[in-house]
Subunit: 100 residues, 2 copies
DNA sequence: GGCGTATATACGCGCAAGGTTATGCGTTAG
DNA sequence: CTAACGCATAACCTTGCGCGTATATACGCC
């Protein structure tokens, strides 16, 4: 699975958001997604691991997950060429508004 | 389907890339993806339409597709908060290299 | 009108993704 | 030492996606 597919799943985006605030244990993440069971969250975390979006560090019995945001850079790299499109659109709109 | 899922499909990313260069008819796009049949491409274009990533304009018998890059902005908006993470990482790396 | 071309839709299929329940395995607590 | 905890994996089920084939629809031309 590649980064685009990994991020396409809403629960996984949620996990990324949570880990952007701070590191969390697997258990904390499970508690943060009450609509899912523990194995479901565990599997999402595996996907995020395998796509290089998070990293794990054992802490005794627990596992501490941390964001590796460099993975998202691959998406950003792909979008970058298109960014100028809507930027110029917005610029044109702004100019239009200012000219009135 | 949302924008993230739309863009998760490699063929659809390819279509977006092609339409970023210039507008194209459906037939041109079909020819540009030789590994897919005409109906397959047509359905991908439907997804891109329904997620607001492209727009269509009839030209007699043909249909001209054009990119609506604003749709990608929703992805960009989501990524924006994370961008500072790898930026600071890269800055740190650059500083490290320069200090040698 | 009738026929070829351009594009979209219908239908059926295979497969992988995501979910749950059950279970394994290492670690901590008592 | 053993029972409970924390987490991952296994096995299974269901659903939705992406594909191809076949068919419909719309337009352009003679």
């Amino acid at each position: 699975m590649d980064v685009f597919e990994a991020v396409a799943e809403p629960h996984r985006r949620h996990l990324i958001t949570l880990l952007a605030e701070r590191e969390r244990t697997a258990g904390e993440l499970v508690d943060s997604l009450p609509s899912l069971t523990q194995p479901a969250v565990s599997r999402h975390l595996r996907v995020l691991r395998e796509t290089g979006l998070v990293e794990v560090r054992p802490d005794g019995q627990r596992r501490i997950y941390a964001l590796k945001p460099e993975g998202l850079q691959r998406i950003d790299d792909w979008i970058t060429p298109y960014r100028r499109f809507w930027r110029t659109h917005l610029d044109a709109l702004r100019q239009h508004l200012e000219s009135e």
